[in-house]
Amino acid sequence: MISALGDSLAQVHDSLIHGLSAIKPIQLFNTEGLGCPLAGEIVDFDASKYLGQRNLRPLDRTSRLVASSAQLALQDSGWSMEMRNTEEVGLVLGTMFCSAHTISEFDRRALEAGPAYASPMDFSNTVINAASGQTAIVHNLKGVNTTISTGATSGLQAICYGADLIRSGRARAVLAGGAEELCFESFYGFDRAGLLCRSDTSAGDFPIPFDARRNGAALGEGAALLMLEDLVLARERGARILAEIKGHGSSYDCSRGHDDKQSVAAIAVAIRQALNDAFLLPHEIDCLSASARGSRSGDRREVEAVVSVFNCQTRHLPVTAVKSMLGETLGASGPLQAAAMLETIREGVLPGIPQLQQIEDGFPLKRACAGPKEVDVLNGLINSTGFDGHSCSLILSRYED
């Protein structure tokens, strides 16, 4: 994973449990005239640190994020280039925009200088599957190569798609996850839509999920990929197994987020489907990584959906919301939550929600708090909800020999 809080599971998890926030004033572009000047930016991101001295010019920021995190995931899982030459490895990437910046720059250059001066190299990156295509070239990934775009749930949805490829025997090994770059074009869209936190009010500078003072999300960027394999084959090759994907579910709110009741119902359907798919009951879930990002209505809907599934057990459920520290990384968000969950399962510590002081009245989240807490997690639930109707849930479980 490549994130604003580090590039290794251990480092990121350590930052999260210490409540370090990546959300700071933006350096990547000029924020003059924007309502929110903050984001979880990866400052000084240098892809050559991961990819060596190869020519990186054809790769835009999103592609570099993905290719770099793929390098780390391949290394970590032991899928060497030698193995990749004989066995097909797939790549399933979730992204909301891929690179809106490349698309826009390509167009603006043609508008300014004439179509004859448009850049052919940039053109190849204007397609929304550019990052997965570029990454396949860098790492010789010849298996299934799919890009999934379902808004902010893209990344978690990509993991579900990847898991189904393994389950159905279509693939032996799939890198699955998501990525999103921070860029002016998408940031401007969120800013104008009024979805970002305001730093000029008493609510403070942070997005504070579940807090009564919350007033919006902060955007972020990053990439995270998980290597998914069939259990039997993974054991055969002597792989270290981090966790098992137990089940997943997804649904869509036809009101596109305009209707409270339908939104809540859609989130609940995704959670219930994930439980059914995993053959688990609500009381068997040991912690929740919420999608909550500090949005007034979004956080409340997620809580109501959780309550509708977990009923009175909600108060016993340890809850974290890592978007409080990483920001809303859109396509990368679900996979980053999943990566953090792997470490929670292994280390037995769940990150807190920094700045959380006054949980909103009526949210029965007795076990959501500012600091980290010790947990013994067999089954962890990850929620991912979009801004306009998509919901996806995934259950990761401890693997025991």
């Binding site: 929304i128 570029q134 389950r167």
Partner: protein
């Protein structure tokens, strides 16, 4: 995993006609939808023709959402989806909402929204861009708008794998249905005519000045287009229960990646070959049983030559006996919609035992020496059809459609 999934409805919005009937009859007649570009001023370009959808009124199809506040690709997708449901004889109110899903592909999503952003940016009037940009631009809105218009609350996926996206979306819908995650899926692709895409292909020198002539010795390139294609997929059992007309069964698919170059195909067509082989294996089809191939057939020098090579590597001495056509000779390249529309063509070919022609094919390229059904439609018994699509990023997708036991 052995559930049979069939196509019971087809909806298309294309440069040669909207609705299955008009489209199919124009296609068999060899009509071309290629004309001077009207979407934007092409005077700064050295090419001027495109395959746009003419006389499309979104309000005819968008009944629940506000058509004026939808991008063109969403409008096309909704139209194709409504046409497909009507063709299948399915009332969306008769479905369990949570078990009805949408899987769509696209190349550019809603390109006009970001083009508007860029125009405003360049003229120093970015404040003209409001909250609608985020609501209309990200590509996932296409599948989302279809679902909202029709009340489909199940699986909702957008697969933006460029020019092979339609096949990817149909393949995903097949897996969703086989895994029992939905009762009915709308699957296809949609793309709106895009200045950005046109500029890019023109800059690559890939756009033909006049006509699209796949496999012809004098072919000069592809012609960018727009449109949408949507199929209704349901299990054979439910189709039989309601007495539905079954066009074809979706037999299986193969996906592969060249991992070679972003815009150029593998020099030996290796990725395309693997996708075809996997599709045959997945659908347990002997290569000798394939009776029709809908080619990617863009009309560029390299695509047509490499695609021919890949087909020969898969089908060996049988290759010359399989009718192959490229409807891009008539529709141009409708981008993410292309392989969805071509899947519709395969379904119609299987159902009607007729295959559309490759028009403008008068002088075959010596390196393209297969049977491309030149200029005239043909009656052929089509038991098994293969739909091939290739994309930027090295993404390859092959789909197998075949006669269902009920055909």
């Amino acid at each position: 995993m052995d559930r049979q999934i069939v196509i019971t409805g087809i909806g298309v919005v294309t440069p040669v006609g909207t609705g299955c009937e008009e489209f199919w009859s124009n296609l068999l007649d060899g009509q071309s939808g290629i004309a001077p570009v009207k979407s934007f001023d092409t005077s700064a370009y050295n090419v001027h023709r495109g395959a746009e959808v003419k006389e499309f009124t979104a309000g005819d199809f968008v009944l629940n959402l506000d058509a004026a506040h939808l991008g063109r690709a969403s409008q096309f997708a909704i139209a194709a989806a409504r046409l497909a449901l009507a063709d299948a004889g399915v009332e969306s109110s008769s479905l369990d909402q949570k078990r009805a899903g949408v899987s769509m592909g696209t190349t550019s999503g809603e390109p006009r929204e970001i083009e508007r952003f860029d125009d405003s940016f360049m003229s120093g009037a970015l404040d003209r861009i409001g909250p609608e940009f985020l609501a209309l631009y990200p590509c996932h809105v296409i599948a989302a708008h279809v679902a909202s218009e029709l009340g489909f609350a199940g699986v909702n996926t957008m697969i933006p794998t460029a020019c092979a996206a339609g096949n990817y979306a149909i393949a995903h819908a097949l897996d969703v249905m086989r895994a029992g995650r939905a009762d009915l899926m709308l699957a296809g692709g949609s793309d709106a005519f895009s200045r950005i895409t046109y500029t890019g292909f023109a800059r690559l020198g890939a756009v033909a000045p006049e006509v699209c002539q796949p496999f012809d010795r004098f072919r000069k390139g592809m012609i960018p287009g727009e449109g949408a294609g949507v199929l209704v997929l349901e299990p054979l059992s439910s189709a039989r229960r309601r007495g539905a007309r079954i066009y074809a069964e979706v037999g299986g698919y193969g996906l592969s990646c060249d991992a070679h170059h972003m815009t150029a195909a593998h020099p030996e067509g290796a990725g395309a070959e693997r996708a075809m082989q996997q599709a045959l294996a997945d659908s347990r089809t002997n290569a000798a049983k394939v009776s029709y191939i809908s080619a990617h057939g863009t009309g560029t020098a390299t695509n047509d030559r490499l695609e021919t090579l890949a087909v020969k590597r898969v089908f060996k001495d049988l290759a010359g006996r399989i009718p192959i056509s490229s409807i891009k000779s008539m529709l141009g390249h409708t981008m993410g919609a292309a392989s969805a529309i071509e899947a519709a063509v395969c379904a119609l070919a299987v159902f009607n035992d007729r295959v559309p022609p490759t028009i403008n094919l008068n002088d075959a390229d010596p390196e393209c020496d297969l049977d491309y059904v030149p200029n005239f439609a043909r009656d052929v018994r089509v038991n098994v059809a293969m739909n091939n699509a290739y994309a930027f990023g090295g993404n390859n997708a092959s789909l197998i459609l075949r006669k269902s036991v009920m055909n």
